[in-house]
Amino acid sequence: MRISTFWYCLKQGVINICRNILFSLASIATVSACIFLFCLFFSIMVNVQYVVKNTETTVGITVFFNEGLDKNKITQIGNEIKQRKEVKEVKFTSAEDAWAEAKKEYFGDMQDLAEGFEEDNPLANSSSYTIFLNDLTQQDELVSWLNGIEGVRKVNYSKTAAEGMNSLNKVIGILSMLIIGVLLAVAIFLISNTISVAAAFRKNENQIMKLIGATNYMIRAPFVVEGVIIGLVGASLPLIAIYFLYRSAVGYVVTKFSILSGLFQFLPVDAIFPYMAATAMSLGLGIGFFVSFFTIRKHLKV
């Protein structure tokens, strides 16, 4: 394609937008709303996943053994656990370590008070393995496997943490898909309508182009340019809004609700924005291109 032809098509696409500015604005607004929600849910989901990942590294499964179980057997169980695919890390805590930890936790600076127990470790049967997983969703499976091992007395794990995080992520995912789906349908309908109106405006011109010998591609190009511009502008506006909104929201939560920072850690805007921008712009471009392409194809049988 010649550069002059490219500029001509671009110019005609812009003229199309200006000719039915109200339709074009409505289309841009719908695409913007759709992509704004997409970015919003994208931010929430990425942050929830980040929290879940953090939880996965901090929430462990603790395995205790039957009274008097042989140390060799405990080591053998430890080796079997380490071989499991879902296991990321296994930490062994001996009875002595457990008692030292308990003394530190319960007696603090007055550990002398625990001297009476020195010869008779109250946690003699509390040697344990703490297991960290690669993926929290595999927790149930591993726990049931651990419970089935001979010599295992008790398996402690936080079911609510895993289930809560996963179900929250799922709910957000489904909700966002539904809302984005509805908005996407509206955006497609409006862009298609805008392109149809533009095609009606240019009916005479397209007819002349056909008879002069313009190719289908040349006749359709201004309309596709129009759709792409609508899609790209519709994607850029919410991205700008989300960038500042996210930064302010995270700053606000961190300063006003500092207690939350111990529980949740938000991703900085610069960490998520490049991915969000790339996805949103591709989405805008894709919607604009495909909707205009297929709409004008329907209108112009050359």
């Binding site: 032809t5 011109e205 002349i208 008879l211 002069i212 313009a214």
Partner: protein
């Protein structure tokens, strides 16, 4: 050369527009097609433009069989034809220069080529001084000249004109016909569909008369023989 072999066209509603048409137009010929409304003249032009497909028969233009032409070749084929309409069909939002340049622009011609050929074409149709005028600022005759310049800018081998003087007064009609005759003298085949008896009688060119989808007469230097 244009050749039509046993060409018939029946529209979906059952209306028979053309019945078994056979005709040949040699390169560089000037031909008038006359006949009553509904005689099939416009259908014939549409078929030559490959806007309408014949129900049966064969159309060959410059050795190209239109019936066997793949769709993707149609734009390239149409560039060999120029088309002039009764209602001019100019773009009202563009000036004279842009209307003529439009025909080159949409086939992907370079800006340099456009800048070179548009002034030449405007000079040929006598509108050099009005290149900045918009169609509504021009007379009917001038608008048709712009349309002719647009039709000729891509150097077509054949010029098809559907009632080119239908919206013009007698003086402007003759001016347009003189222009078409000059174009014909430069080697372009010209086919004009018209109702104007005065023009046909004065030009003394080949006249094909149609009636109810058939050719009823074909005279080398004919006149307007049927009663309107």
């Amino acid at each position: 050369m244009i050749e039509l072999w046993n060409v018939s066209k029946t529209y979906e509603a059952g209306n028979k527009a053309l019945r078994n048409i056979n005709m040949t137009v040699a390169d560089g010929e000037f031909v008038f097609i006359i006949g009553r409304s509904g005689s099939g003249k416009s259908t014939l032009l549409k078929m030559l433009l490959k806007e309408v497909e014949p129900t049966s028969g064969k159309i060959v233009v410059n050795d190209m069989n239109l019936g066997k032409m793949p769709r993707r070749f149609i734009p390239r084929y149409r560039r060999k034809l120029g088309m002039v309409f009764q209602d001019f069909r100019l773009l009202k939002d563009r000036n004279v220069y842009e209307n003529v340049a439009f025909a080159q622009r949409v086939i992907g011609a370079s800006t340099r080529s456009i800048k070179e050929s548009v002034p030449v074409m405007l000079k040929m149709v006598g509108l050099s001084s009005k290149y900045k005028f918009f169609p509504q600022q021009l007379s009917g005759g001038e608008q048709q000249r712009v349309a002719i310049a647009r039709a000729l800018i891509n150097k077509p081998e054949i010029l098809l004109a559907d009632e080119p003087t239908g919206n013009l007064d007698g003086h402007n009609s003759m001016e347009i016909m003189k222009l078409l005759e000059e174009i014909n003298k430069l080697g372009t085949t010209v086919i004009v569909v018209t109702h104007s008896q005065e023009i046909v009688d004065r030009m003394k060119k080949r006249v094909i008369m149609m009636d109810r989808g058939t050719i009823v007469s074909d005279e080398k230097k004919g006149g307007y023989t049927y009663e309107n």
